[in-house]
Every structure is written in C-alpha cells, then in structure tokens.
Symmetry: C2
Subunit: 204 residues, 2 copies
C-alpha cells in the first residue's frame, strides 16, 4: 500500500484486487454498480480499472462470469466486440461460431456452472440479465434490423441459452455430439432470421 492507502499502478496484485472488489460490488449493487466504488474497494486509482478492463462488460465477464465458471478468463466482451464488426448477413454464423467455440473451448461444465450460478434465484439473476442485455446485446444492437432490435437480441439470447442448456448442461446426446460446424449449420439460420429477417406482421 502507498502512503495514500492505494496500491500503486504497477502492483502485480492490483488487477486481482479490482476483480475481488468488483465481484463484491456487482453482487451487492447489481450490474450498474459504481466503477469508482470498485476502485475504492480495491484501494486503487479509478484510472487503473479502465487500464485493466476495456469496459464494464469486460470487468463483469472477468470478475463474475469467469468466477462462476471456475476459470481464469472468459472473453465474452472481446467476442461481442468482434461480432459488432461483422456485416449484418454474417451475424448468424458469426454469433453461433463464437458462442459454441467459447464454451466448447472452456469445457461444457463451465457453461453449466455459469447457468446454475445465474439462475439459482432472482437476486443472482439480475446482474447477469443486465450484463446480457447491456453488456453483450448492447454491442450488437446497431447490427440488427432496425425494427425492434431489442426483441431480436432477446430472441437470439434465448436460442443460444437453450441450445447451450441442451448441449452442455442436460447433455442430450444428439446435440451434445454435434461438432461445431454442424452446430453452426443448424443454428445459424435461426439466429440470422432473428437478427435480420422480416418480423411477422403481428410482432412488427
């Protein structure tokens, strides 16, 4: 600790201290917790939070999602940024490939652990919901067709979560044994329709 009671910027444990403080803050205040408060809790300068983490979504993914998954890092935020650079007609394939690649790569039990941590009760759910809506879907909103993009993003989230539950948590055999190319070929058209397809007149 420096004389001001703060960890200096170069301290090797500053990043860990931020992650620990963020976990506490997100659990206490939800996704919209103060990042200044996180810095205060970690005993670091607020600028250091932004030095280590691109944005709130990355901090949440690293502090909360990775912790629930029992792994070191979960690059959800980076993947969402990469998806936001795709052409609209590439969204279906790009989103499914990124989603399946991420959780297959980490090992499917990581997905199960996150889903269980998120869903166990309404209180645990709230920050994950805000992370999905704001931190992930917010990044791709301007790629979705302009009529009801929020609805489109939520339909995409539903298809991905359900596919993940069947593949990695319930492990239904036929879906669990698809390779990633088969998974992309099967699910991407659904995601593409939700992303850019015409909405039925009753929902437009």
């Amino acid at each position: 600790m420096s004389p001001r009671g703060r960890r200096p910027a170069g301290s090797p444990d500053a990043r860990e201290a931020i992650l620990a403080a963020a976990r506490t803050a997100f659990a206490r205040d939800g996704y919209r917790t103060s990042l200044r408060g996180v810095a205060r809790g970690a005993g670091v300068d607020p600028a250091l939070v932004h030095h280590y983490f691109r944005d709130r979504a990355e901090l949440f993914a690293e502090a909360v999602v990775a912790s629930a998954a029992g792994t070191g890092a979960v690059d959800i935020s980076e993947r969402a940024q990469a998806i936001s650079r795709l052409a609209p007609e590439e969204l279906g394939e790009g989103i499914v490939r990124s989603f399946v690649g991420l959780w297959d790569g980490l090992g499917g039990d990581r997905f199960s652990a996150v889903i269980r941590a998120a869903m166990s009760n309404d209180e645990s759910l709230a920050p994950f919901r805000d992370f999905i809506v704001t931190g992930i879907l917010g990044n791709i909103m301007d790629k979705l067709a302009p009529d009801r993009p929020e609805l489109r993003g939520q339909l995409i989230a539903g298809q991905l979560i359900g596919f993940g539950v069947v593949r990695w948590l319930a492990r239904l055999d036929e879906v669990a044994s698809l390779d990633i190319e088969e998974a992309v070929a099967l699910i991407a058209p659904t995601i593409q329709r939700y992303a850019t397809g015409e909405l039925p007149s009753s929902a437009a």
Copy 2:
C-alpha cells in the same frame, strides 16, 4: 387400509398416495423407476397406477413436474399426445402454441420453479432429461422428418427451453411482453424448420 395392507381402489387418497410414492421413486431411481414399485410404495394394486395415469410420462408430469411447479396439475403428457395427432406441417405452430399456452396459463413463475428444480445439479437433472427425451419427444418422434428425428427433437427442446428461460425466468422485457400470437409467429418457423426442414449437409 384393507386386510392386505392395500388401499382399496375407490379410496379418495389412493391417487395422492401414488403421487407421493412416485415422487420418492423417481428421485431415488430416475425416470425408469419400476411402476410396480411405485404401487407397492403407495400400498395399492399396480392396476390402479394405470387407472389414474395414462403412462409413465403422465405420472412423472403430475408427481414431479407439478410438484416442482408448485401447482396441482401440469398436463404436459396430454399436450404431447395432442401434438402427436397434428399434421407434420402444423408442428411448428402447434408446439409453440401448446408450450406458451401451458406456462403462460400456469403463471411464468411455475416454469422458473421447474427449471430451477431440474437444473440445480446433475442428479436432479437426470430424471427430467429422460422425461423430456422419452416422455415428451418420444411421443412426437414419428411426426418429425425421418432423417435424424432425435436430433430434431433435441433442437426443438433447446429452442423452447431457451425461449422459456428468457420469457419467464430472466424476464427480458421484449420477449416477456409478447402475446401468445406474437410468440407463435416468431418461434413457430424455427420449430417447423427443426421438425421437418432439410438438414444442412454437414449434419444430415
């Protein structure tokens, strides 16, 4: 109790005794528990189990799913039978309308309770998985296109579970506020494609 230690067939609590014994048996042995053992546990003649419950799926839905949902009855088995009488091209709309109608009708918190009960750990999951694969999907298998019907059924289950998680558990606002006609119009084409559409060559 009769002299043989069994409840007579007309006993008003025989059905309740079967349900209680079934809950215990499914939890102990999984979905494939012996129905004779259930009758024995309830102190009734095995024929009475079949008198009150059409099949294993109906018994599981009434004993385990309804109990997890905190409600008196969940007519999943009857709905699956009704779906099995639809023409193939009606499956998308029929399945979504039945699924959304069921859980909207019961109140969305019932769906959340069942999902939480099923997913809380691998042990709790197993009987629900067998119920979905055997008790529900088994009923509609011969309506699905003949190439890879099990895969098709599991993809359908994934889309429905994910839509349900977003609508009733996470309650993402745009999906939660769809009326049933909008939900059917948005989700039925996905279900129809999984049920009868051409599979991509990599997965066929």
